[in-house]
């Protein structure tokens, strides 16, 4: 014998002989009440879960405003040696928001790559001290003309290109400009691949050559 469900397939409750059914009714009142209660619960839960999630996730989509930080007078920086300068990346949090930038004047003999050989767009070369491997602070060793990382032995040459250790790409750079008062200013960070081709800023450990540039997407609202 077929079950009740098989016999009454009509969408009308009257056809299904539901007690209390009336003409044109397609859903039982019990089912309607259950659905309403569930929906109300879901709306109530979502109304506090979604804003809380948004609060936690918002920083992924936000970017720090571009800052221009004064590094020092133009004469301060030679073209064959780096001078360490401390600049603020995030304001209002004291020492934690600061970073060291290694700055030198543009050098036509050194900066011969297609991307940085123009001294008008790159009047100064500013390298980030953030190691491209895990983000430890690298140190400029003038005698060896190398940047050395204390954590895992990453070594970079005078252009910030990797010459040893685990880093997957050269040191990050900062845009530079000279103000009307003759002061060198440090601008936003950008990352470079092994040919010093500029990319939007990437985190340490993210390669920018070959497949790497597609595996590690640019951050939101940044152009490549």
């Amino acid at each position: 014998m077929p079950s009740k469900h098989d016999r009454y397939k009509s969408k009308y409750t009257v056809d299904r002989q539901v007690p209390g059914a009336f003409e044109g009714e397609t859903i039982t009142r019990r089912r309607f009440m259950t659905g309403t209660a569930h929906t109300a619960g879901a709306v109530a839960a979502a109304s506090f879960t979604l804003p809380a999630l948004g609060l936690a996730l918002a920083p992924v989509f936000e970017r720090e405003p571009h800052r221009w930080e004064i590094a020092g007078p133009v004469d301060m920086f030679p073209d064959d040696n780096y001078i360490p300068v401390v600049v603020t990346l995030a304001a209002g949090i004291g020492q934690v928001g600061k970073t060291t930038v290694y700055v030198r004047k543009h050098n036509a003999a050194l900066d011969t790559d297609a991307y940085d050989r123009n001294p008008r767009t790159h009047p100064f070369i500013a390298l980030s001290d953030r190691c491209a491997h895990a983000g430890c602070p690298v140190r400029w060793v003038p005698a060896a003309e190398r940047f050395a990382c204390p954590c895992h032995g990453g070594v970079y040459d005078i252009l910030g290109r990797r010459v040893g250790g685990p880093p997957p790409r050269p040191l990050d750079r900062f845009f530079t400009r000279v103000s009307k008062q003759g002061l060198v200013e440090i601008g936003p960070r950008y990352s470079v691949n092994s040919e010093l081709k500029p990319f939007s800023p990437r985190g340490p450990g993210e390669p920018l050559d070959g497949l790497g540039q597609y595996l590690y997407p640019a951050q939101f609202d940044e152009r490549k």
């Binding site: 936000e62 720090e64 990346l89 209002g92 895990a134 430890c136 985190g203 450990g205 993210e206 590690y216």
Partner: protein, 240 residues
């Protein structure tokens, strides 16, 4: 012989509660279980882990009374004050610090025991999965707690750890941004880690530990693998 009035009062209170909750049945179900032959000291690693967690929870609550998640220097200063000037501060902080390592070690020993005994097999797979989640949550606790003293070691370890998170393909950069609360170590990174460390993960661990224990009680424990299957002579006689 009549009971001492104090004992009488105690029995009355317990009976009053039990009559309204029937908790004694659940207690007996949990505590008086049959355990297989060959059960030994290795079977205590799970409860040892649980007590390590309880110790972390209790000491953590009291450390939170002195700690200030302030990245401009208040965090370091509050930990220094707690360690150097508060009565028993260094002791309780030391318990929390070393207890963290103890808990991680115990979790791995407990997992190794379960693996070598084959105790993850049917019908206990779900309990293994819950255990893996608990292992990950324990590591999250270790990672987020490491930042809180906010000294040089804590800062750079967290910088490196969040950058390692960023090296995961495709989603890594976004995950690292979520963890740090921005593309760089910023104003809210410390409070974010603090909230994860003391609010989000402990609740999850406690809940999953409850589920873990429930399944242990429900499914029972396994005998050590070197115990041969015991042939019951009397049962054989009955069947024959």
């Amino acid at each position: 012989m009549p009971l001492h009035p104090v004992a009488e009062a105690g029995v009355t209170v317990v009976d009053w509660i039990d009559e309204r909750t029937s908790l004694s049945g659940a207690g007996r179900w949990m505590m008086f279980r049959k355990v297989p032959k060959g059960t030994n000291w290795f079977y205590t690693l799970g409860s040892a882990t649980m007590f390590a967690f309880l110790s972390q929870a209790v000491t953590g609550v009291f450390l939170a009374m002195y700690y200030r998640p302030d990245a401009t220097g208040g965090a370091y200063e509050s930990v220094r004050h707690l360690t150097n000037e508060v009565f028993l501060g260094a002791f309780v902080r030391g318990m929390h610090l070393w207890g963290a390592s103890v808990m991680v070690v115990l979790v791995f020993l407990h997992m190794g025991r379960t693996f070598l005994w084959g105790a993850y097999k049917y019908p206990r797979e779900l309990n293994w999965i819950i255990g893996v989640v608990l292992l990950i949550l324990t590591m999250v606790m270790a990672l987020t707690g490491y930042l809180l003293p906010f000294d040089q070691r804590a800062y750079w370890a967290t910088v490196v750890a969040s950058n390692i998170t960023g090296t995961g393909p495709i989603v890594g950069p976004y995950l690292a941004d979520f963890l740090r609360g921005g593309s760089e170590f910023g104003a809210t990174t410390l409070s974010r880690f603090y909230a994860i460390h003391m609010l989000v993960v402990p609740g999850l661990i406690a809940a999953l530990m409850g589920a873990h224990l429930y399944l242990v009680a429900k499914l029972g424990t396994t005998a050590p693998p070197w115990k041969k299957v015991h042939k019951d002579v009397k049962l054989d006689t009955i069947e024959a």
